[in-house]
């Protein structure tokens, strides 16, 4: 189902994507039939609890993990059907930024070489050209190229390492970047610096972003629209402000209530969350949220709720959505 307005052109169209992992003789149902779109130039936030399949979805979009079924259309072309050289060419246009900036940098390589690596892989042979582009992108992320290019990752803080990772992701001028929890490992003060940087880079390079995080306030700060996942399925998607003001899915509402607000006048709501998420190896029948949902009834265990529109741009997969 198209979740975008008619005037918006989807750069990414994920259609009924299914991704599974084998675990012994069992199957982990990590992503089970997710459909969503990201319009050119927009940021789609993706939230949900640990293990709900956010990273798996992000990696499957970039073909770092192949889907069992479903399609990933990027600029009209189906990435899931691509292989070899075609896929390699396409990969220049899509990039990934990880949660753990320090672990994702090779400790024995100099920053200049780390940032230049995508250029080497993409076949940019001219060393002077590579150097120029590394220089430009390091300056863009707020690092002094002359001071950092010859140093090793361990000489940098977490926030600086994330700047380096962002530089590496941007050096090929991609159109689309999956940011997988890019600020979760950072301190509040550094987190704000990096979020501002991502916003600035998005404007400067005309990027389209899929921004994965588990912190709803962080997601709202940068996203035009937000998609909420639970145990491998999409619960709800809609414009950020609207979704946060009027969540239609009981799980979205629960997530919003659970956020600790930095204001002593806001009494924390008694934790309504009953229990914990079930295992994705044996997900509940029908609606996967039903074991924790205060509204669950017979129908919820019998029938999988389909995504449907409840307000302009807002779609929810629930048999009994909130008013």
């Amino acid at each position: 189902m198209m979740q975008l307005a008619a005037r918006e052109e989807p750069l990414l169209n994920v259609d009924n994507l299914v991704v599974e992992y084998g675990l012994g003789n069992k199957t982990v149902h990590a992503v089970s039939g997710v459909s969503l779109q990201v319009a050119r130039g927009e940021t789609l936030g993706l939230v949900g609890e640990s293990g709900c399949g956010k990273s798996t979805l992000g990696r499957a979009v970039l073909q770092l993990r192949r889907a069992k079924s479903g399609r990933v259309l990027f600029d009209g072309e189906d990435l899931t059907a691509m292989e070899g050289e075609a896929l390699r060419q396409m990969r220049r246009r899509v990039q990934l930024i990880f949660q753990d900036p320090i672990a994702s940098l090779n400790p024995r390589r100099r920053i200049g070489d780390i940032v230049a690596e995508p250029l080497v892989i993409a076949g940019v042979k001219d060393a002077v050209e590579r150097k120029r582009r590394v220089h430009d992108v390091l300056s863009a992320v707020g690092l002094d190229p002359d001071l950092v290019a010859n140093r090793l990752p361990h000489e940098f803080s977490g926030g600086q390492c994330q700047r380096i990772c962002i530089a590496r992701a941007l050096v090929l001028n991609p159109e689309f970047v999956v940011c997988d929890e890019p600020v979760s490992a950072l301190d509040v003060s550094i987190r704000a610096q990096i979020l501002n940087l991502l916003e600035a880079m998005k404007a400067r390079f005309g990027l389209t972003l899929l921004f994965i995080a588990h912190d709803l306030a962080v997601v709202k700060a940068v996203s035009d629209r937000v998609a909420v996942m639970y145990l491998g399925r999409l619960c709800e998607v809609g414009p950020s402000e609207q979704l946060f003001a009027r969540p239609a899915h009981p799980y979205t509402s629960l997530l919003l209530q659970a956020i600790p607000v930095p204001d002593p006048d806001v009494r924390p709501a008694e934790s309504v969350a009953t229990g914990e998420p079930p295992s994705p190896i044996a997900p509940p029948s029908g609606c996967r949220f039903r074991t924790r949902c205060p509204r669950a009834d017979q129908r919820c265990s019998a029938e999988i709720p389909e995504l449907r529109g409840v307000a302009p741009g807002q779609f929810v997969a629930c048999h009994h959505p909130l008013a």
Binding site: R191, N196, L216, A217, P260, V261, P262, D263, A273
Partner: protein
């Protein structure tokens, strides 16, 4: 006012490193009464964990500790090892960010709980078993009898943290220190664990210290908050006062830098530039000066001491405090 259960006086912790001595905790004073909750907040590396370890006398061997930790009239720093061990077993408890720090992976949950209980409370096996089941039920674990036979790896992160809390509470401690108890957990589970801690704290009239880098966690749950920066307490106040009338620019900046749910998307965040100072280097002046937007000449020369504000119990360490008069910033 009754006498505090815990009084920390002039605690300093230094750690030798290849790059020189590292000031992990730089002369901290704090106090806490029974039945109250103190929140300690600050960025990574500001000394929160070292301070809590100094209170519990659980510092790394090479650490140099000075100052006094008065607990119910006794100085824990100078206590005989045997007495300290008893006190730690019965009256002081701690919950860490990673529950596996306090759980033994090769023992069943039942064995661990019952051992702790029997060690501290002189109960026979069947009474200890009954108590274990009650405790697991109290911390919200469904089917507690079946859990007793399971190993920690068979439980989710949230479950493990509940079990670690059950073990910590098993000896009826008078002081519980929770060091980032929910940082590794999802928000819905985080809310459950924080509720659990608050409930048990009230019920047992325990004193509790919650350590976190999330101001949201302490806002609704601590009576008083201490903000740490570079090893020092730079502001300390009853929770309302801290959030509404902070005097320390660092507290203001920390609060402003958090993305808020009621802010429109794409609003630039007021980030704090730079990062905290290197704790192995000598410091002149205010430790926050290089990042402070109010910094003026003297800030780079003179080290601001903690001073009392107009509200009792509100202290701040700043030469140019903000929001000093009624009405400003309110």
């Amino acid at each position: 006012m009754s006498t505090p259960l815990l009084t920390i006086e002039d605690i300093a912790v230094e750690l030798p490193t290849p790059r020189g001595n590292l000031r992990a905790v730089d002369h901290v004073d704090l106090s806490l009464q029974a039945g109250r909750t103190l929140g300690i907040v600050g960025e990574s590396g500001c000394g929160k964990t070292m301070l809590s370890r100094a209170i519990l006398q659980l510092l790394p061997k090479k650490a140099k500790l000075s100052g006094r930790v008065m607990f119910d009239g006794e100085d824990l720093v100078r206590l005989a090892p045997e007495r300290l061990r008893r006190l730690r077993a019965r009256e002081l408890a701690v919950v860490f960010q990673d529950p596996m720090t306090s759980l033994n992976p090769v023992l069943t949950i039942g064995t661990q709980l019952m051992e702790t209980i029997q060690e501290h409370l002189e109960l026979d096996a069947s009474a200890a078993r009954k108590r274990s089941i009650d405790l697991l039920a109290a911390v919200g674990i469904p089917a507690p009898e079946q859990r007793l036979g399971q190993y920690p790896h068979q439980c989710s992160g949230g479950m493990r943290q509940r079990i670690a809390i059950a073990i910590a509470l098993s000896c009826e401690p008078r002081l519980l220190i929770a060091d980032e108890p929910t940082t590794a957990l999802d928000v819905t589970i985080q809310a459950q664990i924080l509720d659990l801690l608050a409930r048990e704290q009230r019920r047992r009239h325990m004193a509790m210290i919650i350590i976190t880098h999330d101001l949201g966690v302490v806002a609704g749950r601590a009576d008083e908050v201490a903000v740490m920066y570079a090893g020092r307490v730079v502001e300390r106040a009853p929770t309302q006062a801290l959030f509404k009338r902070m005097h320390m620019p660092y507290t203001e900046a920390l609060l402003a830098a958090i993305p808020k749910l009621d802010t429109a998307p794409h609003t630039p965040l007021p980030a704090i530039s730079g990062r905290p100072p290197d704790p192995t280097r000598p410091l002149k002046g205010c430790s926050f000066a290089p990042r402070c937007r109010y910094a003026a000449g003297r800030c780079h020369e003179a080290k601001p001491e903690l001073k009392s504000a107009e509200i009792s119990g509100h202290l701040y360490a700043c030469l140019h405090p903000i929001r000093m008069t009624e009405g400003i910033g309110a």
